[in-house]
Symmetry: C3
Subunit: 275 residues, 3 copies
């Protein structure tokens, strides 16, 4: 059930909605848009195509008549972050060009979260890694299953944080706890992520999906204008700084991706995988 | 023992001080100004007159020789927020005019908290609702009795947050915990309010008043200039943004109060009450 | 074992490094610069000379090839703050002049923390007082021994907070918990300091030093550019406000140091000590 964005649907509609995306499963029901990262065999790692699909799905949800949007992962993982395969099979003379393009894609991806006007809910159903963790600071509610984990191994990979986390994380948890994650690769469990304010609520793993959906359906029954205007009051004063932080983080990553630190770390990652 | 602000006192002075206010009980002792919301039969719900009286009492405390000001509630409630009766018996053709006037009153009310130059202490002796919760982010110390609760049912009523809470709450507890309160009507108990930083300290309910007064008297014995200057260092850099947030929140509420969302919700509230 | 910064070394090198400072013990090993406040008989209280030495040692660590810098205290205390002896033996006609000089020294001292470009780690091995607490908000990681305490008795001494704490503390722990420390002299134990976000991690007292060194050595093995650039992304957007807050706090302290409040409190402190 996969079609390109501009193709005429040729398959039977599903019971809920036709699927436009290769790597997402998107449904709309009871004023709730549900975006499922749907690449479970790769732990929902984000390819370039997936970045574009999520941007498109968020853009669609922003403009349709749904009240609340929820993002979750298919299978065991929430999302294992940037697919390191994005770094492979790049010929050295193209490296700078592709780094710049990837920085621009990432910037647009994070902007889609910054500018999303309606309540945005994350249902972290399992491990979350890298950019899947950092953008959580841009969600309005973050539910986590008890066994979910949150890891941000940027310096291990010679990289640096993104998703506006260099701004949102210190604001949420204080500078020094943010440094443990952003600089020193500290992995949090669900309880720790809740205690420091990154996660709104931890729910039992076995009833996670049902609990989350019930809560989100309830949220979506509230007056949508009150939700949208209240979010605008909360986020409005910091939109400008969020966009600036996003640009700065992406520019730094373009430099990092082409650095020896990063190239060595990624090569080490893949050679470890092969052995 | 109630006189208008400009009348000559005609009654016997009370043991503590003459009472100028209809709905407040204000005393000054040991450099502590104590403002008691004194409309217990209505759960200390705020009428337009009470807003004006609190503005006047804060203005007086700002300029007299007291060191610390404390606000608490008479009876079982701290304060049940805006008296929804303020919405009643408004003829439809006056609605816009009265909404604008009420927005201006609310703006001046919240400004009185923003600009209060001395330490301001809340003693939350019982349930707190709506604007009585949101302004807590502008207090310097918040004591709560064990059984106190904190509810902010804005979207339930088709409204939106005020009291600078769209700025102070995300700063205090992080964006996503603030959203649960501001957007999704989540009610906190005293322990939860403490854990997220809204409440400075939770005290036993049965010794609450005595404990609070002892602590506040101790506070008021400190060098008042050190207190005032230290508060100015902490709040000074954000006064401008607080006033801007206050204006934005009030403007939004003027729109909300005249919206179908709000009118329907308030009508539903009163018809439920009648049945 | 003390040499000026520009002298040719004339003594045998120590096993680790030659010691340039009277009151600090500074070593460099495994890309870690370790600065030990080394005046244990005075609880590591900061004299004017020590302020200058710490500025010099931070400046050196910022520009050498070390990756991470750690500050800790020799003996039982981390640091008992400003040596109140700095206030003594000042003739009344010199008071204003010396207050201005001290304000300038403090401003330069705090600036050395604000501008430190690499990860800066505090190992709070025992009680911390005053400015030794307030600058913790400018560290990137704060380890505390279980028995460490954090006290900020500014208003007790007729003074006001410094070290950018009027900005960093409300951001870390929320305004009202910050007020308890900044205005009302509340002393925290290590667990409380951790719960409010001031301390990154609490470690057993008996294995504290070894645990901290192992962790810091691990930190220092990460790609240093990723650490430095990530810190720059986190701190960059607030450098301007931090420097402004620093200036405002120091100006206020110059006024406070020459105030009756402060003079009386310091005299009381020393006469209590004599009796």
């Amino acid at each position: 059930a996969a079609e390109g964005l501009e193709e005429t649907p040729t398959q039977e509609p599903s019971t809920e909605t036709q699927q436009k995306y290769e790597n997402l499963f998107v449904t709309k029901e009871n004023a709730v848009t549900r975006i499922v990262l749907n690449r479970p065999h790769k732990k929902n790692a984000l390819t370039r195509e997936m970045y574009e699909e999520i941007i498109a799905a968020l853009n669609e949800a922003a403009n349709d008549n749904s009240a609340v949007t929820i993002i979750t992962g298919a299978g065991d993982f929430f999302c294992s972050g940037n697919d390191l395969g994005n770094f492979m099979s790049i010929s050295p003379d193209k490296m700078q060009e592709i780094a710049v393009e990837s920085g621009d894609l990432l910037r647009r991806y994070v902007s889609a979260y910054i500018d999303f006007p309606k309540p945005l809910v994350a249902a972290v159903n399992g491990p979350a890694i890298g950019v899947a963790v950092t953008v959580l600071g841009l969600f309005d509610v973050v539910f986590a299953a008890e066994h979910a984990t949150f890891s941000t191994p940027f310096s291990n990979l010679g990289q640096s944080p993104e998703g506006c986390s260099t701004y949102t994380f210190p604001k949420i948890m204080g500078h020094s706890k943010a440094c443990e994650m952003m600089l020193f690769n500290r992995k949090l469990n669900a309880k720790e992520a809740h205690d420091c304010g990154l996660v709104t609520r931890v729910l039992h793993s076995d009833t996670f999906e049902a609990n989350v959906l019930a809560t989100v359906n309830e949220m979506a029954s509230l007056p949508v204008k009150s939700l949208v205007y209240s979010k605008a009051l909360m986020r409005g004063p910091e939109l400008e700084i969020l966009h600036k932080v996003n640009v700065d983080e992406c520019n730094r990553l373009v430099e990092r991706w082409t650095s020896e630190d990063c190239i060595n770390a990624v090569m080490k990652f893949f050679s470890a995988k092969e052995n």
